[in-house]
C-alpha cells in the first residue's frame, strides 16, 4: 500500500521508498528524513482541497507531503496497534 492511500490516523510502518528513475533526489531526501523500512508512520491530516498535501507523522516528526511525494513511500498498516489505540481512546472517553 502506498502512503497516499493510507487512511487518516491508521498506524503503519514504512516498507520501502521507491525512487522514480535513476537519480531521484526526492526519494533520497524522504529516506534521509526518516522514511526507512520499519519506521512507524501515520497520516494525521490532509489539505482542504483535493486531500492535498498530507500531514505525515514519521518517527517523532511531522512533514507535509504532496501526494506525488507520498506515492513513493510503500507502507503496511499495523493492525494490533490500531486496536490498542482505539482501546485507549475508548477508555479515555
Amino acid at each position: 500500500m502506498r502512503l497516499m492511500d493510507l487512511p487518516k490516523n491508521a498506524p503503519a510502518v514504512v516498507v520501502a521508498v521507491h525512487a522514480l528513475g535513476e537519480a531521484d533526489a526526492i526519494a533520497r531526501r524522504l529516506a534521509e528524513i526518516g522514511f526507512v523500512p520499519g519506521e512507524p508512520v501515520e497520516v494525521r491530516a490532509a489539505g482542504p482541497v483535493g486531500r492535498e498535501p498530507l500531514m505525515v507523522q514519521v518517527g517523532y516528526t511531522r512533514f507535509a507531503l504532496r501526494r506525488s511525494e507520498a506515492a513513493r513511500v510503500e507502507v503496511t498498516p499495523v493492525m494490533e496497534v490500531t486496536v490498542a489505540v482505539v482501546d485507549v481512546e475508548a477508555r479515555a472517553a
Binding site: 526526492i26 526518516g34 491530516a45 489539505g47 517523532y60 512533514f63 507531503l65
Partner: protein, 619 residues
C-alpha cells in the same frame, strides 16, 4: 584580538532545531548579517564571549537535513563545514544543535556529520520542552555511545547556554580540540540513530499532546481555514491601523524639516537639492519602516510559533495550481499594503523557483499607493450610479481593478511555470515543527535585522534614485520669461514630451507623460505631479485632487482615463519595488526582466483598453 585570528565555531543542525535562537542567546546583539559571497544565502556571524574572557567568532550556518544538499542553503552549510567555501576558513569546532524532542531525525544528521572528521560538540537543545513532555535523556550514556561531548541547552533561558560556553572554553583551553578523534560511523545511520535512542532515551509518547490537539483544529479543512482568515484579517488590520499614523507622522516630519531648511537657507540649487532631493529622499525611505516593522513583527511570531508552515500547508494545493507554493501566500498578501515588505517576506520560501515567481508577481498586487490614483480617476470619470440592482458602479470598478491585479498575477505565475520548465519536480517536503511560544529576544533581533537590511541595501538605492529624479525635475531651470510651469522646461519635461510619441496610442497626452516620471518615486505622486503640470497650486494631495477633477474631466476622454487606470495595475511605476527586487534576487537580470515584463503588460493592456474604448465611442 582581530576578527580573523579568533577561534571559529560553526553552529550546524536541522531546520527547527532552535539553532538560531541558540545563536541569538550566545551572541546577543553582537551579530553581523550579510550574504555568503556570490549567493543570496544569508550569512550570520556573531561574537561569543567565553567565561575566561576569550572571544569566539560564531557562525550560524543555514539549517540542513543532510550533507547531500537539496537546496542552495544546504550546499553552503556543507561546503562551509568542510572548509571548501571560497573565502570561508574552515571552522575549528562544529557545534551540532539537536532538538531533544526530535532526536530520531536530528541524531541521524549528527552521525552523518561525524564523517567530516572535524572536532565536534553536540548541543542538546530545548531540554525544557523535552522535560515537560516527560522525555528522559541519559546524557552521559548518549555522549558515550555517540563518542562526542554532549551538553544540554535551553535557548529560551538567559543562562541556558552556560554549560555549552563552559565546555567550549574547556575544549579550546585544554587543547582537546586537536586531540579529539571523530571517526565516521560504520553502517546504516538510521539503525545507529535508533540504537542510540534505545540506549539513552526514554520517551512516553512520540508526539506532544498539545501539538496533536492544535493540529486537529488548525489543519481542519473548514475550521483551519477560518482561523487562517481570522489571523490574516487581524494582521492586516493591525498593519493599517498602526502603520498609518506613524507614516503620517514621518511624512509630516519630513515636510516640517524641509520647510525649516527652506526658511533657513537662501534660494538656490543647493537648497533645492537638500529639500527636494535629500530630505524628500530620506523621508521616502524611512516612511516604509512602520509597515515593514509591523508586518515582520507578525510574520516572525507566525514563523517562530510554528504556525507559518501550517498556513502554507492549508494553501499549498491552491497556490501550486498557479505555479506558486503555500509559502507564497503571506508575501503576496503583504504586497497589498506595499510590495517592498512583501518582496522581503519571500525569504521564508525555500524553493528558489517558487521564491522568484513570488517576487516577480508581487508588484501586481494592488498596493496602497495606487489607491489615491484610482480614487482620483474613478471619481472624475466613472459616474456615480447604481447598476444591477444596487451595486455602486464606482465601487465595482475599484473592485475590478483589484481583481485584475490578482488574476494577472495568477496567469503570469502560471505562464512562468510553463515557460521555465526545468523538468524537475519541486517538492513540498515541509516540516511542521512543534508549536512553541516565540521569545522576545528572537523577535527583536529578527526585526532589527529586517530594518537594517532595508535601510542599508534598499535605502541607498531609493535615496540615489530620488536625487536623480530631483535633478531631472529641476534642471535646466525655467527662463525668466517663462509662461509654462517650470517642470515643462526641465529634463523631465523634455523626456515627457518625447515620451508622448510612444504613449499616444495609449491615449496619454504630454501632461500625463510628464507626471509619470516623478511618479516613479511613488505612484501616488502622480496626483500632485499632474497638479504641477496643470499649473495648479495646491496645499496637499487632497486639495490637488479636488482642483484637478474638473480640469481632467474637461481635458481627457473617458478612454484616456480608463487606459491610465489599467496602466497603474501593471506598470513598474515604483523605484523602491525595483530596488527591493534587485536586493532580494541579487540579480540585475531578474530586475530587468521584472521591469520589462511589467512594462510590456502595462503597455499592451492600456493599448487594448484605449483602442477598444475609443472604438466603442468613449474617445
Amino acid at each position: 584580538m582581530s576578527e580573523a585570528s579568533l577561534p571559529r565555531i560553526a553552529l550546524i543542525g536541522n531546520p527547527n532545531s532552535g539553532k538560531t535562537a541558540l545563536f541569538n542567546l550566545l551572541t546577543g546583539s553582537r551579530q553581523k548579517v550579510a550574504n555568503y559571497a556570490g549567493v543570496t544565502v544569508e550569512r550570520k556571524e556573531g561574537r561569543m564571549l567565553g567565561e575566561g574572557g576569550r572571544n569566539y567568532a560564531v557562525l550560524d550556518l543555514p539549517g540542513a537535513y543532510s550533507l547531500t544538499p537539496a537546496s542552495l542553503e544546504e550546499a553552503v552549510a556543507r561546503d562551509v563545514c568542510r572548509g571548501f567555501y571560497p573565502g570561508e576558513p574552515a571552522p575549528d569546532l562544529l557545534v551540532c544543535v539537536v532538538d531533544a524532542t526530535n532526536l530520531r531525525l536530528h541524531l541521524r544528521f549528527v552521525l552523518e556529520l561525524k564523517s567530516l572528521g572535524r572536532p565536534m560538540l553536540v548541543a542538546l537543545n530545548q531540554m525544557d520542552a523535552a522535560r515537560r513532555r516527560g522525555i528522559g535523556i541519559d546524557v552521559a550514556a548518549l555522549s558515550r555511545e555517540l563518542g562526542l561531548p554532549v551538553v544540554e541547552t535551553v535557548a529560551v533561558h538567559g543562562d541556558g547556554a552556560k554549560e555549552l560556553i563552559r565546555k567550549v572554553d574547556a575544549m579550546f583551553a585544554a587543547g582537546d580540540i586537536d586531540a579529539q578523534q571523530v571517526l565516521p560511523v560504520q553502517g546504516d545511520l538510521h539503525a545507529e540513530a535508533r540504537r542510540l535512542i534505545e540506549a539513552s532515551v526514554r520517551m512516553p509518547r512520540r508526539t506532544a499532546r498539545i501539538d496533536d490537539a492544535l493540529d486537529r483544529w488548525l489543519l481542519h479543512p473548514v475550521f483551519g481555514l477560518l482561523v487562517l482568515a481570522a489571523v490574516m484579517f487581524l494582521m492586516f488590520q493591525a498593519v493599517y491601523a498602526w502603520a498609518t499614523p506613524m507614516m503620517d507622522a514621518i511624512e509630516a516630519g519630513t515636510a516640517w524639516l524641509g520647510h525649516a531648511v527652506e526658511q533657513a537657507m537662501p534660494d538656490g540649487p543647493l537648497r533645492s537639492l537638500l529639500v527636494n532631493g535629500i530630505i524628500a529622499g530620506l523621508g521616502g525611505v524611512v516612511v516604509f519602516l512602520p509597515q515593514i516593522l509591523i508586518l515582520f513583527f507578525f510574520i516572525l511570531i507566525l514563523e517562530e510559533s510554528g504556525y507559518l508552515p501550517r498556513a502554507a500547508f492549508l494553501l499549498d494545493r491552491t497556490m501550486s495550481a498557479a505555479g506558486l507554493s503555500g509559502r507564497s501566500f503571506i508575501p503576496l498578501l503583504s504586497s497589498f499594503a506595499c510590495a517592498v515588505p512583501g518582496i522581503m517576506a519571500t525569504r521564508s520560501i525555500q524553493d528558489p523557483r517558487d521564491r522568484l515567481a513570488t517576487i516577480l508577481v508581487a508588484p501586481l498586487m494592488t498596493c496602497s499607493a495606487r489607491l489615491p490614483v484610482y480614487a482620483l480617476l474613478i471619481a472624475a470619470f466613472i459616474p456615480q450610479r447604481k447598476i444591477w440592482g444596487g451595486l455602486e458602479l464606482q465601487g465595482l470598478v475599484l473592485f475590478a481593478l483589484y481583481m485584475a491585479g490578482i488574476a494577472s498575477a495568477l496567469v503570469v505565475s502560471w505562464v512562468m511555470k510553463r515557460w521555465r520548465r526545468d523538468g524537475g519536480e519541486h517538492p513540498l517536503l515541509l516540516e511542521l515543527p512543534s508549536y512553541r511560544l516565540p521569545h522576545w529576544r528572537d523577535l527583536m533581533i529578527g526585526l532589527y535585522e529586517r530594518a537594517m537590511i532595508f535601510l542599508k541595501r534598499v535605502g541607498g538605492i531609493i535615496l540615489a534614485m530620488t536625487v536623480l529624479l530631483w535633478f531631472l525635475l529641476s534642471f535646466p531651470a525655467a527662463p525668466a520669461d517663462a509662461t509654462m510651469p517650470a517642470i515643462d522646461y526641465s529634463f523631465a519635461g523634455r523626456i515627457g514630451h518625447a515620451m508622448t510619441a510612444i504613449f499616444a496610442p495609449l491615449g496619454f497626452n504630454w501632461q500625463i507623460c510628464i507626471a509619470l516620471i516623478p511618479a516613479m518615486a511613488a505612484r501616488e505622486v502622480v496626483v500632485s505631479s499632474l497638479a504641477t503640470v496643470y499649473a495648479l497650486s495646491a496645499a496637499n494631495d487632497d486639495a490637488a485632487s479636488q482642483a484637478l477633477m474638473p480640469l481632467i474631466q474637461h481635458d481627457w476622454s473617458l478612454a484616456t482615463a480608463l487606459s491610465l487606470l489599467v496602466w497603474f495595475i501593471y506598470a513598474p511605476q515604483c523605484l523602491s519595488t525595483l530596488a527591493t527586487i534587485k536586493r532580494e534576487t541579487g540579480s540585475w537580470k531578474q530586475t530587468a526582466f521584472a521591469t520589462v515584463y511589467l512594462f510590456a503588460l502595462a503597455y499592451g493592456a492600456s493599448f487594448i483598453t484605449y483602442q477598444v474604448a475609443k472604438a466603442l465611442g468613449a474617445g
